[in-house]
């Protein structure tokens, strides 16, 4: 009987010992896991800090690039416009007009390349504030009006003066509107351009419709891609960087909106975008 008790005690002791060893091993393993977790967390923190400093460097670089590329353009554009055309003979006047036209082209190219670079590297800063789109539409129309007048086409607004407030960057949204209006004017030789806006559900929809050359259905999906132009003869005839619509798309996307186009060859196009109303 005593032998049996001793055997049971020994077995129980062995079991307890085994359990203890399991617990000790588990503790050791948990400690090891915690050490690995701490190490990984530290690595993640370091990577995050590194990414933050890379973002900062990217922003600084883009700001310096923008400043350095645009600064020489200031006197170029300014002094060319200060030349008194009335004192020039016809050949010199033509020379001046060519210089102005190409400076403006360079100015657009520099602006577009910087914008797309900033949007793609996600360093473009948006100054989000309450925006009255009616005002942005009015401003964009008044700045595009002289170009429409030059081409003897109409440019009218059927947008209500007051639209719901949206949260956005006024300058960037004005850039989108100006871009769409300039494109519409560029591709319209007869008739004109109408701007419409309306509230639909929780969104504001803005449309720029023209009676211009329009485009074939197969061109539409590629239209918002970088450097794309509907056909190479259009590039020769109408010029442009082919970046404007890609920039518009990115800006609207950054405002949680959507941009699209409806068009028919020879009948004109309607470019539209929608933005969420401020809640």
């Amino acid at each position: 009987m005593i032998d049996l008790i001793i055997i049971v005690l020994v077995v129980l002791s062995l079991l307890v010992l085994f359990e203890l060893m399991v617990i000790i091993n588990s503790l050791r393993y948990t400690r090891q896991l915690l050490r690995i977790k701490d190490k990984h967390e530290a690595e993640l923190r370091r990577a995050h800090e590194k990414l933050k400093s890379v973002d900062k460097l990217k922003t600084e670089f883009m700001n310096i690039a923008a400043h350095e590329l645009k600064t020489p353009l200031v006197p170029m554009v300014g002094y060319l416009h200060l030349i008194d055309k009335t004192r020039l003979n016809s050949e010199d006047r033509e020379n001046l007009e060519i210089a102005i036209r190409n400076t403006q082209r360079l100015q657009r190219l520099v602006g577009d390349i910087l914008d797309i670079a900033k949007l793609e590297s996600k360093v473009m800063k948006f100054n989000m504030e309450d925006v009255q789109l009616g005002r942005a539409i009015k401003d964009a129309i008044s700045s595009a009006a002289p170009f429409a007048k030059d081409k003897k086409i109409y440019l009218k607004s059927e947008a209500p003066a007051k639209l719901p407030i949206i949260k956005g960057d006024f300058m960037r949204l004005s850039q989108v509107l100006t871009n769409l209006l300039n494109n519409a004017i560029k591709f319209t030789d007869k008739g004109g351009i109408t701007v419409r806006a309306r509230k639909t559900g929780g969104e504001v929809v803005v449309e720029v419709s023209d009676t211009g050359i329009g485009m074939a259905k197969q061109e539409i999906p590629k239209l918002f891609a970088k450097f794309y132009q509907a056909d190479s003869s259009a590039k020769r005839k109408y010029g442009g960087t082919g970046l404007g619509l890609a920039i518009c798309k990115e800006i609207i996307k950054a405002h949680k909106g959507n941009i699209w186009v409806e068009s028919e060859l020879g009948k004109g196009s309607t470019f539209a975008f929608k933005l969420p109303v401020k809640r």
Partner: protein, 119 residues
């Protein structure tokens, strides 16, 4: 006569501003550094200030904070490339502050100058 003070570290741009604004009949004082501007500002008491945002040393934004600290009614136009604005840098601006995007045509600058002077 309207007195306009400007700070820009690019000599050609300062001269351009001077030519545009003098032609319009304004008195113009140009400074090529922020330090020079801040030294002359209390004495000159300009009606309007034009500031380049990105200048070496004392920037346009630094000048803005200093002059608005002493004179809240000071009218200011920032000359800036689109993204580099004091607002983007976290500085609060008011209704007496406007922006002209670089590069600008003389008529665009004059439109903004006339508009802010009316305020």
């Amino acid at each position: 006569m309207v007195k306009i003070m400007a700070a820009d570290d690019e000599h050609d741009i300062l001269q351009l501003l001077e030519r545009i604004l003098k032609k319009e009949g304004h008195k113009f004082i140009g400074c090529s550094t922020g330090g020079e501007f801040l030294k002359l500002y209390p004495k000159e008491k300009p009606d309007l200030v034009l500031l380049d945002v990105m200048m070496a040393g004392i920037s346009g934004t630094d000048i803005y904070k200093k002059i608005k600290g002493s004179n809240k009614r000071q009218k200011v136009i920032f000359l800036t490339v689109l993204d580099i604005t004091p607002t983007a840098g976290g500085v609060k601006t008011d209704e007496l502050t406007a922006y002209v995007e670089k590069p600008f045509e003389p008529t665009d600058l004059l439109k903004k100058v006339r508009a802010i002077l009316k305020k």
